[in-house]
């Protein structure tokens, strides 16, 4: 066969066309979910314990090929586009806690876990956490992975030097109201000049709101961000600023980390996972920290879920895998692997959670986080909370960092909320 230039061109074209057509044809046959044999699990780095995932693969090998894929980048947008594209939808999808409220209105895209017998597991999980995985009509979308009880992390020797209570039990008992907490901050600044108790005003505001049972929008799609629970949190945050117990540094910046390292910012209201940020951010402070209960009552920050999508062909099998991955023993492993604080109270007494933590001077941190996790109140999280809390969070930050007049900031925030509420169809 002779090869002319034209012949080559034709052959190349035909080949390209065939590939393109083939691609199109197979494009039509893209699987929307898996076959029963393949099962795809989407999560993110640190979303589940690696050991647990590996064990789950081996355990269910006889029935399914469990493909656990870590999705990098902006997880939620990738999951949404895949689900909207109706192709290659994972069978089991991790859902991040902060996104949970926004998935719930679309509960019909997921398998209602109650239909698979989830209720029999309910008593083993934290009730408020279980509640967060339920849509308004009771459909159960998410099965609890972990939670993020918030506690008061502080530097032992700095507190001692400032003449404040410094043993964890004493700190928990004596700094149990915001008033006492702020007074301690003032004493700290007097005794050790240049020191602030907390990094920013936002940590006071968000934690006070999260301690309560109400957020920004209620079940009836009504804006409640102008009510007492938010106003009180705002007032406390402004008070923290006026009593000068918060710095004007930004969390996570080199400036803030060095201040933390030097003991200039000896306190944080941090969730259980924040201990890992401390360990990686300021490793030199090892042994200086202790954990105590935060003022008033614990709040929650973070914690995610596993769900089964409608594209899953074998929901029963998927449910067996989920409940195994998230049983009490494996949650203990998840705590060791990735610092996921268990949502199963039975785990709190297990050996893995009773290890003294040298970073916290040998304290068993579960003694604080465990009881805290059990005291968190049930709150209703609306899909509109993010949009309608943003102006308030922005303005409190302006008060904290730019020194904006609190009165003006509040009325600006409310003005913006009114507009956004109207736009989103939330009654004001």
């Amino acid at each position: 066969m002779r090869l002319s230039r034209r012949g080559l061109l034709r052959a190349g074209l035909a080949g390209t066309a065939a590939t393109a057509l083939g691609g199109l044809a197979s494009g039509c046959a893209v699987p929307t979910g898996s076959t029963g044999r393949n099962m795809v699990l989407w999560y993110w780095d640190g979303g589940l314990g690696d050991t647990v995932v590996r064990k789950a693969k081996a355990r269910y090998e006889a029935h399914v090929d469990l493909q656990a894929i870590k999705i990098g980048g902006y997880y939620r947008s990738k999951l949404l586009t895949t689900m909207t594209g109706r192709a290659h939808i994972p069978d089991i999808a991790g859902l991040k806690g902060e996104d949970m409220a926004s998935y719930l209105p679309d509960a019909d895209q997921f398998v209602d876990l109650r239909t698979l017998g989830a209720d029999t597991y309910k008593s083993r999980y934290l009730p408020w956490k279980w509640e967060q995985g339920l849509a308004d009509d009771g459909t159960m979308v998410g099965f609890p992975i972990d939670c993020g009880p918030v506690a008061h992390l502080y530097q032992y020797s700095v507190f001692q030097k400032a003449g404040l209570p410094y043993e964890p039990d004493d700190v928990s008992r004596e700094l149990n109201t915001w008033e006492k907490f702020f007074a301690a901050g003032e004493q700290l600044r007097r005794r050790i000049p240049g020191t602030c108790l907390l990094t920013d005003i936002t940590s006071v505001f968000t934690n006070v709101v999260q301690q309560g049972s109400k957020r920004y929008v209620d079940k009836d799609r009504h804006f409640i961000g102008d009510q007492a629970h938010v106003r009180d949190a705002w007032a406390l945050a402004v008070e923290a600023k006026q009593r000068r117990i918060v710095s004007d540094l930004v969390t996570g910046t080199p400036d803030q980390l060095s201040a933390v390292q030097d003991g200039k910012l000896p306190s944080q209201l941090g969730a259980s996972w924040a201990t890992y940020d401390l360990k990686s951010g300021v490793p030199k402070t090892k042994g200086k920290w202790r954990v105590a209960q935060m003022p008033v009552r614990p709040s929650n920050n973070g914690g995610s879920f596993l769900s089964i999508t409608k594209a899953c062909r074998e929901p029963e099998q998927a449910f067996r895998i989920i409940t195994w991955i998230l049983n009490a023993a494996n949650q203990a492993q998840g705590y060791v692997d990735a610092g996921l604080f268990p949502s199963t109270p039975a785990t709190y007494d297990m050996r893995q959670l009773r290890e003294p933590d040298p970073f916290f001077g040998g304290q068993v941190t579960t003694d604080v986080f465990g009881p805290a996790a059990q005291k968190i109140v049930v709150a209703y999280n609306s899909p509109y909370d993010v949009a309608l809390s943003q102006p308030i969070l922005d303005e409190i930050k302006n008060v904290g960092v730019l020194g904006k007049d609190p009165e003006k900031a509040w009325s600006d925030a409310m003005g913006k909320c009114r507009r956004i509420a109207k736009h989103l169809g939330v009654s004001y």
Partner: protein
């Protein structure tokens, strides 16, 4: 080629009369050869663009069903002070970044053009920032501009000036972002200017020298006018990329606190248009409004491209 000689190749004349071959039938293989780009563009360019227009006329949370909203998203956009603030931020940052960048790129190009030794080393070095990941660059710049330990404040203090809380004040934020963008794009544009410089015939320079023009005069009378098309290209590209800045403010101003990574720092001073679009879409779940913001961005970019084009073009006609 023997067979081809025996059988004459079919020509237009040899076809039956009344059935002239149309352009499409005659050149189909040529169209086919250029089609991959158009097919890909259709798939990943035009269809998404069309779809975003469709989405912008609805209320949609990205997952559930869409609800017809008519033009209400656009009406809201027009009255949305946050959007207009983001337009203002973007333009200020763009101007702060682009004009110094073009000046520096031009100077660099002229120097590169006259450099004799290590030419390629310089070119490579100047191009490097452009192929470095923005995220990595932004993290480095974040520490360069940090308040107590940043390089910039160390320099300021060395010459006896006060510290500036760069990433905590509205103007500081804008300058930090603009500096990052300038650093990143100067080399790239210098290479483009350099390519332009090398197309200018050397006879022109010789003639100018004969007429007694100095280097400055030569630059303004010959180099600059000859570079006008290249300048236009650089301006338009910088405008389009500068007005779509996203990663720079996002990474520079994100923090680990419990808040949006798209808020653009204190007072939203670094919230650009695309950042705002992202926040509306993916933080607030408001895909319909997000799409409308994206179209707002599109219109602003078009407007600026037209202004650029007119400015550079008109001067050419004089």
């Amino acid at each position: 080629m023997a067979t081809a000689l025996e059988k004459p190749a079919p020509t237009v004349e040899s076809l039956p009369a009344g059935r002239p071959r149309t352009g499409l039938r005659r050149y189909w293989h040529l169209y086919a050869a250029i089609s991959p780009f158009y097919l890909l563009f259709l798939c990943f360019g035009l269809i998404p663009v069309g779809f975003s227009l469709y989405v912008s006329l609805h209320r949609w949370d990205g997952l559930g069903s869409m609800e017809w909203a008519g033009l209400s998203q656009y009406r809201y956009l027009l009255s949305d002070s946050d959007f207009w603030q983001s337009v203002g931020n973007t333009i200020v940052i763009w101007a702060l970044a682009t004009f110094p960048m073009i000046f520096l790129a031009m100077v660099t190009a002229v120097m590169l053009n006259s450099a004799v030794r290590f030419k390629n080393v310089y070119r490579f070095a100047y191009f490097l920032p452009n192929v470095t990941s923005v995220v990595a660059v932004a993290i480095v710049f974040g520490s360069v501009f940090s308040t107590n330990f940043g390089l910039v404040n160390a320099l300021l203090q060395a010459v006896g000036l006060d510290q500036v809380a760069w990433l905590n004040t509205p103007w500081g934020i804008k300058i930090a972002i603009a500096t990052l963008m300038t650093w990143q794009w100067t080399g790239y544009n210098a290479i483009i200017f350099l390519a332009g410089l090398q197309t200018i015939p050397s006879e022109l320079y010789e003639a100018a020298r004969m007429d007694g023009a100095g280097p400055v005069q030569t630059f303004f009378r010959i180099t600059l006018p000859m570079l006008r098309p290249v300048l236009l290209f650089v301006l338009v590209v910088s405008t389009v990329t500068g007005l779509q800045s996203f990663s720079e403010p996002q990474v520079l101003l994100q923090n680990t606190a419990n808040e949006s990574t798209f808020s653009g720092g204190p007072g939203h001073a670094g919230r650009t248009m695309v950042l705002y679009f992202f926040q509306q879409t993916f933080d607030n779940n408001d895909f319909g409004y997000g799409a409308a913001v994206a179209w707002g961005v599109f219109l602003v970019v078009i407007l600026f491209s037209i202004i650029n084009w007119r400015l550079v073009q008109r001067r050419g006609e004089d």
